[in-house]
């Protein structure tokens, strides 16, 4: 009993302490000229879909949820954003080589087709980021066309 109490207190203190470790915030007002939407001629429908469902982790600007400053959630989010951006950063699209663009487009198609992206843990909270079957079809159609045009 006493041991449990001590463990409880230690955990609580730990939780309070980690609140003092801030994370880097992925936010930027500037949209670079290399942005996917500026480089390509993207239909409005697709643009909104990609910005809502992908940009939080695949661009330099995250629209953070209210709980984003609570640790360890902030670390969890930061980890996802860093991974996401290193895989694909829509803001840097124009800087990618043609070869890399093709690779990325192909991966986008397969990830969306297989329902791996957007992440389940993300759509759980961001209901609007979830892609319907019709939306997936539109998105995949556009991405495939873009890939074939390269």
């Amino acid at each position: 009993m006493k041991a449990l109490k001590i463990i409880g207190i230690v955990l609580l203190v730990g939780l309070v302490i980690i609140q003092f470790f801030p994370t880097n915030r992925n936010q930027s007002d500037m949209v670079p000229t290399t942005d996917f939407m500026l480089v390509n001629n993207v239909p409005t429908e697709v643009e909104e879909m990609v910005k809502t469902s992908c940009y939080d982790c695949h661009s330099n600007n995250t629209d953070y949820p209210w709980y984003n400053k609570v640790q360890p959630i902030a670390w969890f989010l930061q980890g996802h954003i860093e991974d996401g951006k290193s895989e694909l950063n829509f803001n840097e699209w124009g800087d990618y080589s043609e070869r890399r663009k093709k690779s990325k487009l192909r991966s986008i198609v397969s990830q969306v087709e297989e329902g791996e992206m957007p992440l389940f843990s993300y759509t759980l909270i961001h209901g609007d980021a979830k892609l319907s079957d019709a939306e997936k079809k539109t998105l995949i159609g556009f991405i495939t066309k873009l890939k074939d045009s390269l």
């Binding site: 290193s86 080589s97 070869r99 890399r100 690779s103 192909r106 991966s107 397969s110």
Partner: protein, 209 residues
């Protein structure tokens, strides 16, 4: 990983810059005019810089054999990866992917002609990403990445040449009948995209030497 690479890259550049500057300083101690900076460096390089001379020689005179040696490790690791996929061996493919990532990263494009370096760097960058993914994915994804990786390696060998005879094979069914290529050391078809499910699907398109 990425951060570490950037850091190493910056460190390397700083070291190169420092070395180059200090060499120049020794040679041109008396002349200290800033404006002549680059001109002097170039002159120094041509006249007696051992490092510069060496790389200059590589640019012009790298023989076919030397070029194929540069891609030799990459081909070896690629074939190990291919064989693992043929035997439906996800763990083996992951290990080979990791090894291939290392070989790709140690590829030195600076020994090649200037007009080839850009293309080579693009290929290596793309292939490295695919190798990284293969190292940590399930076999379905490994095969997807292997498809694009194979294109990268074929394009790489078109520039560097191959140190051994390879056969470029083609499976018309993979990727929803869009088709996919791969390289093999043998003429016999052993399909890395389907493994035991469709071992002999495909045909040899050409021989690469």
């Amino acid at each position: 990983m990425r951060k570490a690479n950037v850091k190493t890259g910056i460190l390397a550049m700083v070291i190169i810059a420092l070395t180059a500057t200090s060499c120049k300083d020794k040679k041109k101690e008396q002349e200290s005019e800033e404006g002549h900076h680059t001109e002097q460096m170039e002159k120094g390089g041509q006249m007696d810089g051992t490092m510069e001379d060496h790389s200059q020689m590589d640019h012009d005179n790298m023989s076919h054999g030397e070029m194929t040696m540069m891609s030799s490790d990459i081909v070896t690791d690629y074939l190990t990866l291919k064989n693992a996929l043929v035997s439906d061996d996800q763990d083996g493919a992951a290990k080979a992917g990791e090894k291939l990532e290392g070989s790709l990263k140690s590829f030195d494009s600076s020994k090649f002609a200037d007009d080839q370096q850009g293309e080579l760097n693009d290929i290596i960058e793309d292939a490295t990403e695919h190798a990284q993914h293969i190292a940590k994915s399930d076999i379905g994804h490994q095969r997807e990445h292997f498809d694009v990786l194979s294109k990268d390696i074929i394009d790489l060998l078109a520039i560097t040449g191959s140190d051994r005879t390879l056969y470029q094979a083609y499976c018309p069914m993979y990727n929803k009948n869009k088709g996919a290529q791969w390289l093999s050391a043998s003429k016999e078809i052993k399909n890395p995209y389907y493994g035991s499910k469709m071992m002999t699907c495909g045909e040899v398109q050409k021989e690469i030497n």
